[in-house]
Amino acid sequence: MSESDTSTQPVQDPDQDMLVGSPAERAAEKTYGLSEIPPEELPLLPGELTAHPSPVQYVIIAMILVVVTAVEVGVSYLEGDIPDGLIIVLLLGMGLFKFVVVASYYMHLKTDRPLFRRLFIMGGVAAVTLYAIVLTTLHFWSNTG
C-alpha cells in the first residue's frame, strides 16, 4: 500500500458546517451549559420571526410561574377571609397570566409567525364564547350566583 493513500487527511464531518456558534462558543457550550451560544446566532426554525429566549430566560420564566402558582394556592386558602368574588377574580387573573406566559414564551407565539397566534386565539375564543353561551342557556350563572 502506498503512503499517498493512507488516511492522513482529517475526516470531514458534513454536519460541521451547519453547527451554530464559533468553535470557541461550541467548546464553552459543551463545558459550561446551554447559554454560551446566544440565541441570535441560532438558525431560525420554520415559521420563526425572531430568536427564541435563551435557556437562562426560560429558567427565569419558570421561576415566575412557580411563584405565581404558589400565590394562587395561597389565595385559595383565603376562602372565608375575603369575598369569594375577589378570590375568583384573583385566581382567574393569575391563571390567565400563567396561560399567556407559557403560550408566549414556551410555545413561542411571541416570536413566531402571527398566523400561529391567530389560530390558537381563534380556538380559545371560539371555545370560551361557545361554552359561555351554553352555560348561560343552562342557567349556570344564576345557580352559582
Binding site: 454536519d15 451547519m18 453547527l19 451554530v20 461550541r26 457550550e29 459543551k30 446551554l34 441560532l42 438558525p43 431560525l44 426554525l45 420554520p46 415559521g47 420563526e48 420571526l49 427564541h52 435563551s54 435557556p55 426560560y58 429558567v59 419558570a62 410561574l65 412557580v66 402558582t69 394562587e72 394556592v73 389565595v75 385559595s76 376562602e79 378570590i87 375568583i88 385566581l91 382567574l92 393569575m94 391563571g95 400563567k98 396561560f99 407559557v102 403560550a103 414556551y106 410555545m107 413561542h108 409567525r113 398566523l115 400561529f116 389560530l119 390558537f120 380556538g123 380559545g124 371560539a126 371555545a127 370560551v128 361557545l130 361554552y131 351554553v134 352555560l135 343552562l138 349556570f140 345557580n143
Partner: protein, 203 residues
C-alpha cells in the same frame, strides 16, 4: 419587512416543507390540532362546571387534596421548562443535553400521571367513583382525558429520546422536538386552566 425562515438555508438545513403558506406542514398541523383541542377541553370544563354543584352525595370539598395537587401541578410546570431546554439543546447541536432534558421531561410527566392515578385511587376509596354522581362523572372524564393526553405526550417524548439515543435526532431535526414541545406545553396550559377552575376556585 419581516424576515421569516422558510427555506433550508435560512433555518440551518431543516427540511423545507414548501406549502402555499410558506410554513411547514407539521407546525401548521399541530397548531390547527391544538386549536381544535381548545374546544374539546372547553366542552369538558363546561360540563364539569355545570354538574359540579348539581350532584347528590359526595362533593369536591370532601375529596380534594389541594397540597397534593399543587405538588403535581408544580411537577408539570417543571416539565415544560425541561421541554424548552431540550429544544434549546438540539438547536445548539448539543445531543447529550437533548437526551437528558427529553428523558427528564418524560419522567416528570410519568410522575404527574402517577400522582393522578394515586389521586383517583384515593377518591375511589373515599367513595367517589365515575358512576357515583354527575360530579364524579364529569371530574373523572375531564382529568382522565387530560391524563391520557399527558400519557400520549410521554410516549412521544420517549420515542424522540430513543431516536436521539441512536443518533437519529440531530440539529437538523429541531422542528420535530419543537412540534412535540408545542403539544407538551399545550397539555401544561390546559392543566393551568383545570387546576385553577376545577381545584382552586371556591365552590
Amino acid at each position: 419587512m419581516e424576515q421569516v425562515a422558510t427555506s433550508p438555508g435560512q433555518h440551518g438545513g431543516h427540511e423545507d416543507h414548501g406549502t402555499g403558506t410558506g410554513l411547514s406542514n407539521a407546525k401548521l398541523a399541530i397548531w390547527l390540532f391544538l386549536s381544535s383541542e381548545c374546544l374539546l377541553f372547553g366542552a369538558l370544563i363546561s360540563t364539569y362546571l355545570l354538574y359540579r354543584d348539581r350532584s347528590q352525595g359526595i362533593s369536591a370539598d370532601d375529596v380534594y387534596n389541594i397540597p397534593f395537587t399543587s405538588a403535581t401541578s408544580f411537577i408539570l410546570l417543571m416539565s415544560s421548562l425541561t421541554m424548552v431546554l431540550a429544544l434549546a439543546a438540539i438547536q445548539r447541536g448539543d445531543e447529550r443535553r437533548l437526551k437528558i432534558w427529553l428523558i427528564a421531561t418524560a419522567l416528570f410527566g410519568m410522575t404527574f400521571v402517577g400522582g393522578q392515578i394515586f389521586e383517583f385511587t384515593e377518591f375511589v376509596r373515599e367513595g367517589l367513583k365515575i358512576e357515583t354522581n354527575l360530579f364524579g362523572s364529569s371530574f373523572y372524564l375531564l382529568t382522565g382525558l387530560h391524563g391520557l393526553h399527558v400519557t400520549a405526550g410521554i410516549v412521544w417524548l420517549l420515542s424522540l429520546w430513543g431516536l436521539a439515543s441512536q443518533g437519529r435526532l440531530t440539529q437538523r431535526d429541531s422542528e420535530k422536538v419543537e412540534v412535540a414541545g408545542l403539544y407538551w406545553h399545550f397539555v401544561d396550559v390546559v392543566w393551568i386552566v383545570i387546576f385553577t377552575v376545577v381545584y382552586l376556585i371556591p365552590r
